[in-house]
């Protein structure tokens, strides 16, 4: 049960490592690359806290092995804002609209919403709620999060999502 070598791009930087095949992409990002912004809630694909972009698509990084990401381009929450530390439009909207309280689920929400608004810049309210259904938040009651998505949709329509 040897280790396998993996090469991938994470937040624009090429990374290479050897991993045990059973290591999930989430654990690889957190423990080997020290990118601890990706959070692990349930570790079996229910809560959405570990959502990252793989080749642009929002995926649950706990339901993918790091070896499966060989050759892929991964964007984590650390790669969503601008390199100087400025917030993205989605991050700003979450702050403005009280879309977070404890913040544990927030990285997953921000990554999911970033992908959703890129593909759906004119969402209806039911579409927003459906898109949010794959991420769980135990604090906010979701209303602030829905408001944040509505605010960030304005930025998406102006092409200012990232």
């Amino acid at each position: 049960m040897g280790e396998v070598s993996v090469k991938l791009t994470v937040n624009g930087q090429p990374r290479a490592a050897t991993v045990e095949p059973r290591v999930t992409l989430a654990d690889f990002l957190r423990e080997q690359l020290q990118l601890t912004g990706t959070h692990l809630g349930c570790e079996h694909g229910v809560c959405g806290a570990c959502t990252v972009l793989v080749d642009g698509a929002a995926v649950r990084s706990c339901l993918m092995f790091a070896v499966q990401a060989d050759g892929a381009e991964v964007t984590t929450i650390e790669g969503i804002g601008s390199p100087d530390g400025g917030l993205s439009a989605v991050q700003s909207a979450f702050r403005d609209c009280h879309g977070l309280q404890c913040g544990f689920c927030t990285p997953g929400f921000v990554v999911s919403v970033t992908a959703f608004l890129r593909d759906h810049p004119n969402p209806t309210d039911p579409e927003i709620r459906e898109a949010l259904s794959g991420n769980l938040c135990r604090c906010t009651g979701y209303q602030g999060i829905v408001n944040a998505v509505q605010q960030a949709a304005g930025a998406a329509r102006r092409g200012e999502l990232r």
Partner: protein, 291 residues
Amino acid sequence: MKPAPFEYHAPNTVADAANLLAELGDGAKVLSGGQSLVPMLALRLAVFEHLVDIGRIAELSGIERRNGALWIGAGTTQATVEASALVASEVPLLAVATPLIGHFQIRSRGTLGGSIAHADPAAEYPAVALALDATMEVVSPRGRRTIEARDFFAGLWSTSMEPDELLVGVSFPIWGGRSGFAVEEFARRHGDFAIAGAAIGIELDAVDRIRRCTLGLIGLGSTPERARTVEAELAGRPVTDVEPDEVGRLVMAALPSVPSDLHGSAAYRKRVGAAMVARAWTTAAAEARHG
């Protein structure tokens, strides 16, 4: 919550994958999108010595017309199916079922073949495959063969594929004429497995008589189910004479055994199922009549 150790294999061709499965035997499992398998590994409900990742096999992806049917490669993601104009025009039942699978983050990775090979009776694709009489194409070192949907789903999470066989594609018949399709399901939260659901297709003749109909059922048995006796009863009748609630009652009466678990008793599931059948019938009939 960490999977047990396993040996990882990533073949580049179907032939290599089939040889690996034959060689590794019972200790091996196919890994496709992993959206059902990885949770089971994480919870250690399942442990395998070898995982054969088919995600790098290019010939497993694609959507194309073949011999009058729509062929979809087993490795095609649900997100790709959802976005396909060809699926929407040729197999509308598959198109309306897809957005009901999990959440969009799950559909990014989850595959058509993975869902069908996993054979969960509460999942959408197995019920659609059964409802449309889809044909599964499987490959082993012994060769290639096809299995009809009615012979494919053998029981809860089990199929009639041999352990060394790999599902490579599914052919969905294309319905022509004046037809309508609908999937209705009830779940407590969007994306959860349905407590009960129905996948229905209706084709009408020029004077609104039912030329054929298919009544597929989700979460109402140990496999996806189909109410064939009711389909035969309804064929030939004017669609305007058929009460949707009557279809719901007939279908529930025809079911062999309905599961009971902490999400709902068998009696509750039947009531929900009858309502889902009635709703799906209403939508499909309206679409068939008015386009």
